[in-house]
Point group: C2
Chain length 131, copies 2
DNA sequence: AAGTTTACTCTACACTTGTAAAGATTGCAA
DNA sequence: TTGCAATCTTTACAAGTGTAGAGTAAACTT
């Protein structure tokens, strides 16, 4: 299975997040879940979801008159594609400048910084042991 | 001046990168600069740039029959918006999980990790002194 | 069986983005 | 003055995305 590009639109992100959290689920369920943040009618949601099926982002299973949707893309895959896209657009595809930018631009708490530092130390050990 | 959202499309990113590198510059210049990576005609580029003017992403200065374009958005602003958008879509707006994801997903060299660690230490000092 | 509820299907419109050809204008060279 | 190059302007089409109403069908209740 070749690596597919999963470039999700704003609306698709909202929907697939709801699907990940509730799969397998029906379209009306997704509409209800998103109701509080999106003023979408069932009709809008259904259309978007069926288009996502056509794009290979969701898959369906029919049980009598009910259609259950599941994500055809993992959260990690989708996140990875989103980040790669951002890096490509804004940083010529380079992740390290992007991370540096993130660190420079955002007010992270000491706790968060410490946590990241710990992760980096771990990564350094892994990088070292793998060399 | 209120903080504007600068959500740039794929095409807009290519164009504004070229403008940042050559501003102030004319549309034909941008077309030539992008020629090697984008098979766009002058007409396409001009249309996109004029739309970007309408969206407040570029500004113009007319000298006789020549229109010179400059970016109305700094590279940092645009990069920031791109990252915030990615974070919002893929990480519910949270930067730390995004950062962790980046660290988990990319094979960084020891040197790169050290560099990031240094930045974090610097940020920790700043965060501490600001509290 | 009729009525109601739930979900699906069909259809359509508006806007954005990408793409670009054809025509018009300006400025310069011959 | 004419011709040409460079640039601008006008116009248009296609595909994707967002949005959703009206009609239809299935399942359940009375």
């Amino acid at each position: 299975m070749t690596k597919k590009k999963h470039d999700l639109t704003e609306g698709e992100w909202a929907i697939i997040q709801a699907v990940w959290s509730n799969q397998p689920c029906a379209a009306p369920t997704v509409q209800e879940v998103l109701q509080s943040e999106r003023a979408w009618t069932y009709s809008t949601v259904k259309t978007m979801m069926d288009r996502m099926v056509a794009k290979g982002l969701l898959k369906t299973e029919r049980i009598r008159n009910l259609i259950l949707y599941s994500a055809a893309v993992t959260r990690r895959e989708a996140q990875h594609c989103e980040i790669m896209r951002a890096a490509k657009r804004a940083f010529d595809g380079a992740f390290t400048p992007m991370m540096q930018f993130l660190l420079d631009s955002n007010k992270l708490s000491k706790e968060q910084l410490t946590e990241l530092e710990t992760i980096i130390k771990t990564k350094k050990v892994e990088a070292k042991s793998k060399r």
